[in-house]
Symmetry: C2
Subunit: 454 residues, 2 copies
């Protein structure tokens, strides 16, 4: 009952917004409509389909690019190929190519059908954008931009901008990109500069020092573009080919999404989770990827158990060792995770690099040595009071220092080495570290116990 | 020797750039100069001071706001209060107030001296901005903006913009904010719209549907502003007071920094690291904060040991239990961390909320149950083969299912509950979860062993 009310509320809100949109009186952002539509989809498939069929194509173009990829993948099951083609033609090229890519992930044939219904230019652009690798700057650019040549006067260019905007072919404009007759990029002029010039003036008259000269190659890694945006506070960045010909631009809101995705990936990788899989709707896909990681962890855990197995007679003769032994491993794991996380993050933010490696490792070793000594003292006293065996206190204290020290050292060294070999330091470093802290923890504690106590 | 060459290289680069800057021919971004200056500071204090004294104030204003807070804190030890005052007056108000705040953290008196050297308006603005709480939108805004009234003609406003820009009082302009005579915000017009209108036209003539109506209250949480930027792809956002009077604006590059800081905080919190402390230079401060977290973890680990202690006679009679017991706890910890991390991140990204709690918990319980069954089977077989005790395989398999199931359940429930009680779900949830998975892991394994095997 509650659900039916909710469904009706959302449906009415969406249908009203559609009417308002048609009248030009809508004040709800497409993002918010996308979220409502998602909710409706979760609650009732049929009603979702009903509403989808009623959304006009230009509005749908704005809504659909705010929706997660698993919904884009299935959109062909809800609305006709022809309507999807119309929607695609109304999208910015980066959003359009993403939509076609997502649909092709589910059904390559439908994606081709939709492409065939587009005009040649749109089709070529989408195919071009989708030919880039995921990590290449080109796959994030849009070809829609505002450009002009040096010989043109500003007034003519603005008239062109006006008509492009009226046809809704251009949006989110921050610069005019100046190009020569071969489409080679000369530089960009911010609108805040352009607006100060007279319309009769020619672009040639804009002084050199007002030009923005940043650009990035279409094949370069998107993280290079991200760095330029972060360091130089850019609003948009020109994308050029090997001959410096202007191909497109990347805007700050695209970069914003890239950063958020990178951060999610980093966080997930450290926790042994795959970011792509987690964005899927299927519990099966999510669970399978997580299982792989748990499987790797099982191997690590068994390794640690084998180490413990070496000392079974020691444990048998003093069961207090079994009681205390997880403490050393756990403290090492935690201290190591602290170091690892900080190192991975600071490398990602560009705050430390391979050149600073020695400085970082020194810092981490000092911190872990001092903390190791502090917690060695505390746990030594506790173990002594608990089991009334002074030497047991000494054993756990010594192994605490050893394990925290190695946790700090390896927590810093592992990600630095992985980065050196161009492996993403967030992926896999946790499991290597845990193996180290578990093995060192159990081996040092039980080994020292065998030497000192027996 | 290598260091001396390096010092000289950096010093020469910086001194050259200073000369080029004075001639107006510099093409190095202040960000890159800031990074070089930081390197020089690390290598040689004296040379750093020498170069700092030679940087002209307007360039220093641009460099200093790219430097980390611990360098800003100490800047008064390197250059005179008078120069810092000049530098401050050349900064945007948000950067200026941050600089004064950082200096005051080290020495309140010097901060006051610098403030007293500023003109009254600058001083008031800085004091106003620094009166906001860290989480309030007001503390991220700058008061420099381009505004106009409805009665003004566009040409006059653009002339004003031109002279403000020539005096370097205004930069990074995306909109003109329209206000009434009481400074109340009417709306914003993007430059890409404004440029299309004739200069003779009045702002009153700009149609309603070209106005951007988003704004945020100066006392509202910065995360609300972040959401508006992410959802609606904004470039800048007006900040208003309770009477809707325009106070300032937040730009996308500020929000970008906020997002990166939030992500760092989230990642660090989950790993038991304090983000503020890690930005300090002092190893002592960093180590102390980490020790607090390790101390909490020690209590957790001892709790787990107490649980093991209950079963000391069981372990004594079958030492294989001691060998195998870390496996169950470790797998639970890992599975729980997977769930916890995904839940925390998706809540932060607004993808799941308290209303979806049931759906999220269901999903996580299903995944952990299935993975629990898979790994129960695997570890059951391994334990049986290893120790040749069939019932031991059964015990570890059962406890694996129990622990992975509780890991999935609590990994989802803990952050959702913390969020419900308005506690940051990233902070503290890891330690609560580890306690659960350790205690449940050891208790179920050793408890079942006592029941079934003995």
């Amino acid at each position: 009952m509650e659900d039916i009310n909710k469904i009706n509320d959302i449906k009415n809100l969406l249908l009203n917004s559609i009417e308002e949109y048609k009248d030009g009186t809508s004040d709800i952002h497409p993002y918010d409509l996308a979220k409502e539509l998602e909710k409706l989809r979760d609650l009732d498939d049929k009603e979702y389909e009903y509403v989808c069929k009623r959304i006009p194509s230009d509005l749908f173009a704005e809504i659909l690019c705010e929706m997660p990829s698993y919904i884009q993948e299935e959109i062909a099951e809800v609305i006709s190929d022809k309507k999807i083609a119309t929607i695609t033609s109304k999208m910015d090229s980066d959003d359009a190519s993403e939509l076609i890519y997502n649909i092709s992930q589910k059904d390559e044939e439908i994606a081709q059908t939709i492409l065939s219904k587009l005009d040649d230019e749109d089709k070529q652009i989408i195919e071009k954008l989708n030919s880039y690798d995921d990590h290449e700057a080109g796959s994030y650019m849009q070809s829609e931009l505002f450009s002009a040549t040096l010989d043109e006067d500003i007034g003519t260019a603005i008239k062109r901008l006006k008509s492009l905007k009226e046809e809704e072919l251009l949006d989110n404009i921050f610069h005019v990109f100046l190009i020569d007759k071969d489409k080679k990029l000369i530089g960009a002029v911010g609108l805040e500069e352009l607006i100060l010039f007279d319309r009769q003036q020619h672009f040639r008259e804009i002084p050199q020092d007002k030009l923005i000269n940043y650009s990035c190659n279409h094949k370069s890694d998107i993280s290079d573009a991200v760095e330029m945006f972060t360091h130089y506070n850019l609003s948009a960045l020109a994308v050029v080919d090997e001959e410096n010909r202007l191909l497109g631009r990347i805007t700050h809101d695209d970069i914003h999404d890239v950063i958020q995705d990178q951060d999610t990936k980093q966080l997930y990788s450290l926790a042994g989770v795959n970011d792509d899989a987690e964005n899927e709707e299927s519990v099966y896909l999510i669970g399978r990827k997580r299982a792989i990681w748990l499987g790797i962890n099982l191997v690590t855990a068994i390794l640690a158990s084998i180490v413990i197995g070496f000392f079974d007679t020691t444990i048998q003769s003093l069961v207090a060792l079994a009681v205390l032994m997880p403490i050393v491993a756990s403290m090492g794991g935690n201290a190591g995770t602290q170091t690892l996380t900080v190192t991975v993050r600071q490398m990602a933010l560009g705050e430390i690099s391979y050149q600073d490696a020695k400085k970082t490792i020194n810092k981490e070793v000092i911190i872990s040595l001092v903390n190791g000594l502090i917690f060695a003292f505390i746990i030594g006293i506790i173990a002594f009071i608990w089991f009334k065996i002074p030497l047991l206190g000494l054993v756990i204290a010594l192994s605490m220092v050893i394990n925290l020290l190695s946790a700090g050292f390896f927590g810093a060294v592992i990600p630095i080495l992985l980065e050196k070999f161009e492996i993403d330091p967030a992926i896999g470093s946790t499991v290597i570290l845990t193996t180290v802290t578990d093995v060192v923890g159990f081996f040092s504690f039980l080994g020292l116990a065998t030497l000192i106590l027996l």
